[in-house]
């Protein structure tokens, strides 16, 4: 096993620079941070909560939420834990902070103060700094995670972990390709090595921080094999830096069999790849994201989509589900709407929790398919690196289009792949670009799409992709002609 841990010197050099990049960085004191983290009771530690849920076979619920001002944000989180009955809390970061635009974030804070309502789409943790962020983690009684979409989240990680957050979402691939336009993949992976190493340092100091690569990517018809390949590469990158508590994610596609198979295969693949790479001590858990693409505007219909996500997430046996709100299509939810999404999901998960997981031959068939596809992509990627280096593999695979994320904004992504639903709503691959899938698999996808086209009396075409993008928002799964 090749040790790819970032060197102490390299980390320290970067750290000095990172902490200087915005004034609030100066308040980060690692030893004080470790002391603070150690004092956090077990039931507020995210990694412990995930481990426990996994052991008990439970599925936890977590919303997304973040507003500009600290007190408002605390009120929001407290509401979600009491009225929303959330098991796990988030702190969703605003989009300026995600792009390290702290000056703009500061303007957003000011404007929000003036307007008396949040004009930012999240919580600008860096601007608020360690002490203010600590008020957040101390005010609530459930574990809190930082959720964002930041290619360079080094300062954000330093500040939030020092403030008592016990989980940090993201990764060098998943927080670049869907979230940025022209950040080199190599750079974002380097930035995220730093974050993972920081988590490793906490681990070495006796503090377990949960890490979660962002599974859904663009959230829009991403075939499971594509997001699984990214999840496993990011998982390896995190483990290499000393991460132990790792949650791999997947965004609901909408067909129940495919969604259940996706979570099962994600677990299988991760266990195999991680242990093959020499990582035996991994606290592996999964997260299932309720439908991440366009939602229906009508709240009643949105409740249907939310419920269906909870059904699939629970029947798949995911460790946690990220919950949407009935406001999804319209805008950032009020705390009330957010809590409603949670309670709908709670009712479903509770009612299903005694019923076991779904399994069937169809599920097993799909598991086998997804595993073959993902392996083909990963092996194609590793073939481009020496010593199965996940960093090299990722960078080269994106260059070569061996990994290709549909509809992504990044110029680091070839963008040649096009997904499409088959006649039963499975997300299949219409244009494979350079994905190295075996010919029989490609043929299988094509056949399934032809079946659909026949059923709809039209030819397989780009129009069907567009129809599929709109479909759930318009009240269906498959984008059929009217």
């Amino acid at each position: 096993m090749i040790d790819r841990k970032m060197s102490k010197e390299s980390f320290e050099t970067q750290r000095t620079e990172v902490l200087k990049s915005w004034p609030t960085g100066a308040d980060v004191d690692f030893d004080a941070a470790v002391a603070l983290q150690r004092a956090i009771p077990e039931e507020k530690n995210f990694a412990a909560a995930m481990k426990k849920a996994d052991a008990e076979g439970r599925t936890l619920l977590q919303p997304r939420a973040g507003v500009a001002l600290v007190d408002e944000h605390i009120r929001l989180l407290k509401y979600l834990e009491t009225e929303g009955e959330a098991d796990l809390l988030p702190t969703t970061i605003d989009a300026y902070t995600r792009q390290n635009r702290y000056t703009e974030a500061a303007k957003g804070i000011e404007k929000s103060q003036a307007a008396g309502t949040s004009l930012l789409n999240g919580f600008p943790a860096v601007n608020h700094g360690v002490a203010e962020c600590r008020r957040v983690t101390e005010a609530v009684s459930k574990p809190v995670q930082v959720r964002h979409g930041t290619p360079d989240a080094r300062l954000l990680a330093e500040i939030t972990l020092a403030a008592g957050f016990t989980a940090f979402e993201g990764g060098g691939i998943s927080y670049n390709i869907p979230y940025a336009k022209n950040v080199p993949l190599r750079s974002s992976i380097q930035y995220w090595k730093y974050v993972d190493r920081l988590v490793g340092l906490y681990e070495e100091a006796g503090v377990r921080i949960n890490r979660e690569p962002f599974g859904p990517l663009t959230g829009t018809l991403v075939p499971p094999c594509v997001s699984h390949a990214v999840a496993i590469l990011e998982g390896l990158l995190a483990l290499e830096q000393g991460v132990v508590s790792l949650t791999l994610g997947y965004g609901q596609c909408g067909n129940l069999i495919q969604d259940v198979a996706a979570i099962i295969s994600l677990r299988n693949l991760a266990r195999t790849y991680f242990s093959e790479a020499g990582f035996e001590h991994v606290e592996l858990t999964t997260v299932f994201h309720q439908w991440m693409g366009g939602f229906p505007e009508d709240e009643a219909k949105a409740f249907g989509v939310i419920s269906w996500g909870s059904v699939a997430g629970r029947l798949a046996g995911a460790t946690k589900i990220i919950v949407k709100s009935p406001h999804e299509a319209m805008g950032i939810p009020t705390k009330e709407a957010n809590a409603q999404g949670l309670r709908t999901s709670r009712q479903i998960v509770n009612m299903l929790s005694d019923q076991g997981m779904l399994d069937s031959q169809a599920v097993q068939r799909e598991v086998a398919l997804i595993e073959r596809e993902t392996r083909a992509i990963l092996e194609g990627a590793f073939a481009l690196s020496s010593g199965r280096d996940p960093e090299e593999a990722a960078v080269r695979a994106f260059e070569a289009g061996i990994i290709d994320v549909p509809f992504a904004p990044s110029n680091q992504n070839q963008g040649k792949i096009l997904p499409m639903r088959d006649n039963e709503g499975y997300v299949r691959i219409f244009k494979a670009g350079s994905l190295p899938l075996p010919q029989d698999v490609l043929d299988f996808h094509r056949e399934r799409l032809e079946d659909r086209a026949k059923a709809e009396g039209r030819l397989v075409s780009l129009r069907m992709v567009t129809d599929d993008i709109y479909a759930i928002g318009k009240g269906r799964l498959v984008g059929r002609p009217l």
Partner: protein, 151 residues
């Protein structure tokens, strides 16, 4: 009567600010291209000045700004002013998407962005077939006005 201009309707498309939502942008690109427009698509994360430069360079008829992520109120403000400063004050400015933070009454949102100088404001469930008709109308009106002014 002024003669009808023959060159293709030219539009600049993009998602403003630090907004990464690329799906709608790709759909708008495909949609307007299919309908014969010349589309200069700047993609996501486009600054005000990038919009204007592209519009000047292509002698565009209209700029279609998208904002999905909620910072529209901050990001979109001032674009008309910059257009005036840079000499294309009369360009058609459209904006659409999830323009503000939260679920708000659309008429208020429309009002707000109109007062920022946008000619039309669109919600996320915009009927694109209708929008394309309106765009042709707006462009024709502007071209005729310009022709009449003899510019």
């Amino acid at each position: 009567m002024v003669e009808r201009e023959k060159r293709p309707y030219t539009i600049v498309l993009g998602v403003i600010g630090f907004d990464c939502h690329s799906v709608g942008n790709k759909i708008l690109d495909a949609f307007f291209t299919e309908r014969g427009f010349k589309v200069i698509n700047l993609g996501v994360m486009v600054s005000q000045d990038e919009f204007i430069s592209a519009a000047i360079e292509s002698a565009a008829d209209a700029i279609l700004v998208s904002s999905l992520y909620g910072h529209g109120e901050i990001d979109c403000d001032g674009l008309r002013g910059r257009c005036i400063e840079r000499g294309i004050g009369d360009i058609i400015l459209w904006v659409g998407g999830n323009l503000v933070v939260g679920k708000k009454d659309f008429s208020e949102v429309e009002e707000k962005f109109r007062s920022m100088g946008y000619d039309r404001v669109f919600p996320p469930d915009t009927d694109l077939d209708k929008a394309v008709q309106e765009l042709i109308q707006d462009i024709e009106a502007r071209r005729q006005k310009k022709a009449a002014e003899g510019r």
